[in-house]
């Protein structure tokens, strides 16, 4: 035991706490054993903690939701340029199969859509947000979260490297299936020195995202008018 543990403080007994411990010893005699007392005490403490957590949650829930929406908006703006739409991106969302699609409209016409794709990278899931025009051409790709190796795989972040911009303006039409791969695998995308798995995963995810758009294009752009040509 290190020296910072001093004798139990002699001075100034705190009254309520003293009372509580006296009450506890009395109750212990009554029950002839301490176990129920201890259990009740722990239960009370757990209730107090639960109440504090509930209050904390209520006090922060609104702000946290706001921050989340701001974060999402900040990413959406990066994959859908404001020039292609005049609507509120967060307001126009719809569920297509298993994901949420945010739709950009110019007037009544759907001009672009943004949605998330997820893929397993080198060290865990990589969440990617991509924006695609109504014709199926990529407007922008951004990595929302990942746990790739710092200094190697994290070049997929736009803050660290321009690599993700190499997807812009590509589509299933102007890029053949074989080209949707890193150069090492005979495709058109650069890999990073020391990290091939990460870019390979991202390329695969973006391709899957385009396939998703191709398959559900009608469901995504429907009811907002016809596809803008």
């Amino acid at each position: 035991m290190s020296e910072d543990v001093r004798e139990v403080d002699q001075d100034r007994p705190s009254a309520p706490a003293e009372q509580a411990s006296a009450w506890i010893s009395k109750a212990a005699v009554l029950f002839r054993c301490r176990i129920p007392i201890d259990a009740i005490l722990l239960g009370v403490l757990a209730m107090v903690a639960a109440a504090a957590l509930a209050m904390g949650y209520n006090a922060t829930a609104e702000d946290i939701a706001k921050r989340k929406a701001e974060d999402l908006m900040a990413s959406l703006v990066q994959v859908i340029p404001s020039s292609v739409h005049d609507n509120e991106l967060l307001a126009d969302r719809r569920h297509v199969v298993d994901r949420v699609v945010y739709r950009a409209k110019a007037g009544p016409i759907v001009t672009a859509a943004a949605y998330e794709v997820t893929v397993n990278g080198y060290a865990g899931p990589i969440r990617i947000l991509m924006g695609v025009t109504a014709k199926g051409e990529i407007l922008g790709v951004r990595v929302l979260s990942h746990s790739e190796t710092p200094g190697l795989g994290d070049k997929i972040e736009v803050a660290k490297n321009d690599w993700v911009r190499s997807f812009e303006r590509l589509s299933l039409v102007n890029t053949s299936t074989e080209q949707w791969a890193v150069k090492k695998d005979g495709g058109r995308f650069d890999q990073f020195s020391g990290a091939t798995i990460t870019p390979r995963a991202v390329v695969k995810a973006v391709k899957a995202g385009l396939d998703f758009f191709d398959t559900y294009r009608f469901a995504i752009v429907r009811d907002g008018g016809e596809v803008k040509e």
Partner: protein, 232 residues
Amino acid sequence: MRDGSYKTIIRDGLWDNNVILGQMLALCPLMAVTGTATNGLGMGLASTSVLVVSGMAVSLIRKAVPQEVRIPAFVLIIAAIVTLLDLAMNAWLHELHKVLGLFIPLIVTNCAILGRAEAFASRNRVGDAMLDGLMMGLGFTIALMVLGAVREIIGSGTLFSGASLLLGEPFLFLETTVIPDYRGFLLFILPPGGFIAMAFVLAAKRIIDKRLAGDADADVLPGRIQPVDEGA
């Protein structure tokens, strides 16, 4: 109160019984966050606030909680405080939360906090317990920052990168490039580099302690580390 006990608390927290350098606790978050000095600083400050508040809470209930159930009670208190801190930071310090978000739940598993609750806060008055929490926390912060700085300079050639993200624009001046056009030394960014850097920092502390103690103690045996507090 014993004379100079505040001084003892301060000295213990910052140097003699420093969480990292003296007690060798909390090595798990240490390795995870000290890739940069800024992350170390942020994690240190978050842990410090938990240490102060949990020290206060534990000290307040120390007489009402029987010996037999004190550990679960302390764990409960610490977990609740960390969760509240996580929520509060997410709501009001969102940028900082984005940087540290992953590590905040890790504070619960920081054995140093339970260690202080058990070894100090549960036996001392509220004011002392809070001061101890603050000093232990600051000592922890300094150790994290030093280690982060060493790893950052060797690993990526910068110092305090991202500090303005953590502390706000006025702290942009902290961000420096120590070695221009550095190609990086990945090992030091990864956990193994953390262990290596940690060994050197510990050795440095040992040398300083030895110098301070004078030549009388020159033949200090290796392993003369302060005994780890029980229950930690």
